[in-house]
Symmetry: C2
Subunit: 644 residues, 2 copies
Amino acid sequence: MSEQDKKNESNGGGVLARRRFMNSAALAGLSLGAIACTDKSASSAAAPAASGAAPAHGAAAANASHLKPGELDTYYGLWSGGHTGDMRVLGLPSGREITRIPCFVPDALVGWGITNESKKVMGTKADGSLKYTVADTHHTHASYKDGNYDGRYAWINDKINSRIARIRLDYFVCDKITELPNVQGFHGIFPDKADPVDPKINYTTRVFCGGEFAVPLPNTVGTEDSTKYHSLFTCVDAESMEVRWQVLIDGNCDLTATSYDGKLAATNQYNTEMGAHYEDMMSAERDACLFFNIARIEEAVKAGKFKTYGDSKVPVVDGTHAANKDPKTALTAYVSVPKNPHGVNASPDAKYFICAGKLSPTGTVIELAKVLDYFDGKLDSPDKAIVAEVELGLGPLHTAFDGRGNAYTTLFLDSQVVKWNVEAAIKFHAGDKSAKYVVDRIDVQYQPGHLNASQSETRAADGKYLAVGCKFSKDRFLPVGPLHPENEQFIDISGDKMVLLADHPVRGEPHDFIIFKRDLLKPKQVYNLDEFPLATKDPKDSGVVRNGKKVTVRLTSQAPSFSLREFKVKKGDEVTLILTNLDKIEDLTHGFAIPKYNVNFIVNPLETASVTFIADKPGVYWCYCTHFCHALHLEMRTRMIVEA
Amino acid sequence: MSEQDKKNESNGGGVLARRRFMNSAALAGLSLGAIACTDKSASSAAAPAASGAAPAHGAAAANASHLKPGELDTYYGLWSGGHTGDMRVLGLPSGREITRIPCFVPDALVGWGITNESKKVMGTKADGSLKYTVADTHHTHASYKDGNYDGRYAWINDKINSRIARIRLDYFVCDKITELPNVQGFHGIFPDKADPVDPKINYTTRVFCGGEFAVPLPNTVGTEDSTKYHSLFTCVDAESMEVRWQVLIDGNCDLTATSYDGKLAATNQYNTEMGAHYEDMMSAERDACLFFNIARIEEAVKAGKFKTYGDSKVPVVDGTHAANKDPKTALTAYVSVPKNPHGVNASPDAKYFICAGKLSPTGTVIELAKVLDYFDGKLDSPDKAIVAEVELGLGPLHTAFDGRGNAYTTLFLDSQVVKWNVEAAIKFHAGDKSAKYVVDRIDVQYQPGHLNASQSETRAADGKYLAVGCKFSKDRFLPVGPLHPENEQFIDISGDKMVLLADHPVRGEPHDFIIFKRDLLKPKQVYNLDEFPLATKDPKDSGVVRNGKKVTVRLTSQAPSFSLREFKVKKGDEVTLILTNLDKIEDLTHGFAIPKYNVNFIVNPLETASVTFIADKPGVYWCYCTHFCHALHLEMRTRMIVEA
């Protein structure tokens, strides 16, 4: 056993000798093996597996995640909806999903992708059909003020089509979607927390987006030569949702983090090799955490020091190694971190970014003050900003914080969460062999990816709860065919030892999430009629207006009826139907479906929505309320009569 | 107070004087008022409302719905997915959603509506695009054998487009969808439980479907004259999923029930008036429960006594009053029940169907043996099959059973579930004023629609749990903007008193569900390669085959790589990509996304799926695994190079 192994063993507990950097062949075999070994068949549901049963916090401990009926949760969780392309809103500690907010993918309840209003947000092709109907939503973050969430906005990304969506947190609706130019595989996303220059702007005004897959710029030539491929790091304006600028980099972007002072953003890079095959992507022993000096980048853009690519007018500055050799003028700094890191997270004390090694068993602690020293020319290498690099376990991915100096890192291969003390890790790294930085470990079920703690990514980290997104659930739920749910586990981190509270099955792939105190949000539950230019404010204004082949149908809903009991159009008409819900009682939503015309959408209290379609089928079509509203809900209908 | 009021008061508790039949004006005001009155603002999340907190079953009672981590549920729940057009699979008593099975609406995780295989099930237009992308899924039921679920199939309906979907309960996938001809607003659905003639067929071979909205037959003329409109009751073959026959009826169909002996099916009718406006639909004091004599209908079809309508070749027999005056030859029997009934449910002792009055405060108990007597000419009126009609409370809708002789009926307007004893109700109706049929009442939060008890709709009703779908949640969860979740409540019915265990928020509108013991299902968790004719069984058979402009790309997935690291096509090619997942470890699903090409789908262990698209954009497209599979998941990619 090497000296380093012996040193680390005091923090690891016995099996650290195997925790070497891995080569590609070993890793490809090992991790799959790990999955296979821990796999217990759930094909028979007969025997409950309670191996992960929670030990009680003393004899009288109640399980905090078990709410009484009617008891309200104390935290909101904003969850990435994965392939469903939406944002899930959870109540915690119960883990209940309260709503989903459609963004990138159509939603047949709301009528997202069906109404004219939602199609405008989603984006359409020339023929009016939706540009995209699939998504791969990974990360979710919310807007900040004074280092805590301010309840204005949240953002999520679509990796497949490089889109960023903004959600208004007053009405819980997506109001803007932007497709990033010249980016493929947009993965990491993080809003800034302050302006790098103006101290009065102590809130989010930018969102940073990491581009993972390198492609030709512009991507119009099908070349196999991957030396012609590049990745971009992108800044989106938080208010206008327009792309402000991009940075051309060496290597790729994975996840993203921002400093509390607004001066720095960073992305971890797992493919500094710029390999096109996975073996090439893992050939180097160290990759990087790439820092961006925001103020200098914006000065360079202002000074016109940029290019543009293809049809895009977005200024692209040069952030490659070659162009940034002088620290005093550099826009970027590449801090090396071990092999294929995954995850970069900002500690709530605002001092550190932590990268996890993925194919190395280590966590790397980078001190932000030293990164700024590097940009000031006070350090001769950006790697001197590394203040700790310690072994944590196999397959470390993401890190959360409790506000008491401890970090919690998921270990994908070990199927564990390791709790470790950051200052102790720094002391250990500096040579203090007595510093025990590993505080606790807990088994999770199984193969955890993201995790997050309550308020972890704010200055107000409160160290109460930890949610862990386990990628495999295997035997933890009743069998439901070949597609297993993932397992989101909820852990009490308020004491010294982590205590598993609950397993929640979830449809793939949620990836990331944030958890914060419920009093940070003040949602509105009834719309304002005046926000809708098309609103019909008085039922008497309902009716059918014809302009050649274009017909506008205005109607209102008030339980249990629509203002028009029937309306007539002619075969071939282009019909725009505008529905205003004049019910103003909270929770009194109506739906509107037209059989055979592929129309279904809802109008919430005092909301207006519209649809446009060609009346191509003659006959009688009972348009009915699809959202239960009243004892006479079934009877709530209007007739669309399409005359031949 | 009338004599009847006094009689009923002993079973109702004080306010029954107001429980009269309601006229339209009163009802329209009252029910809306009821909603408004009980509405408590949840705009501030500050104060938890625990008014519905569960009283304990004695001092040491544990809440059965609170499982320990890793503990398996003991019941499956199959839930209608509402507007999401899918079936939700729950574990109970925890209430956790384990998976969702896409049926009528595209699903961007599975690639439902994206893969060629799913598009074939869903149905496409001439241009290859999906015929429908919205749905309104109401009722879910499963196949029977010997009066209990046999784990073969489940069915759900789409009301908007009159479609029925079948789900295979081995793999938890939808394998067939049928659109019913000449039906609009297909609402109620129920499989039969035995053949009416052949006693050896003691399992499901038919599914009955109720058509709610009357339309012209065929619906090709936009006439306003509603006397020309008709509804049909439809029989679908459980195996072939083809439509066997339909019945032309007077009035409409709402929900559906079937007898255990296979001889009878029924639908409640809320609009015997055949009104086109809601006031007309509620003008009569009594509507009906319409019975179908299955054996006679099939004899009539066999004898050629049917018509067809429009393009449909489905035989339609005449079930109207006028054609069925002689009970001894009648195909149908109209049993009158009070005002706008909603819900018809078969008791697990196989003796009764129960209809709830909705706009009448009553439940009506119809004895099936007497209905058969009517068809045998032994009763002079079908109404003589009514053995009880008792007051239950305001707005009764649906009824579940505990197998101990008790019925549980939701009271929409009272926001209650009432537990009542069926035999006591029959005695009371027969004149025994001492018979106390109301056993218990519990407040639910709020306005309940469907409910169902564990095993309620089988001969094996076990009276353990009751789930109640409350249409309004109001203040029961953290506020999430104008669209509230619904509230599904879970109730322990094992004792004399009902005990509320848990509230679960749910996205609208689940409507109906069934709950049964977990050992009734034996799902398969890995596919069989041989079930997929397009499977690539050996990675060596991967490759690109060109046939003019048509290109077939065959590839396999084995973590962490796809068998082709890159593949080339030309701009304008029609590409069919066939992916076989050769990983056979349970839970090892891969995804496959193509950026900008609107492709994303998954392949479960040993599954094969394909997509077809036009390669209309030149460039480099990183096709990547979207379903977390391995430590090198991020690195698992292939390149599609589209040459100009």
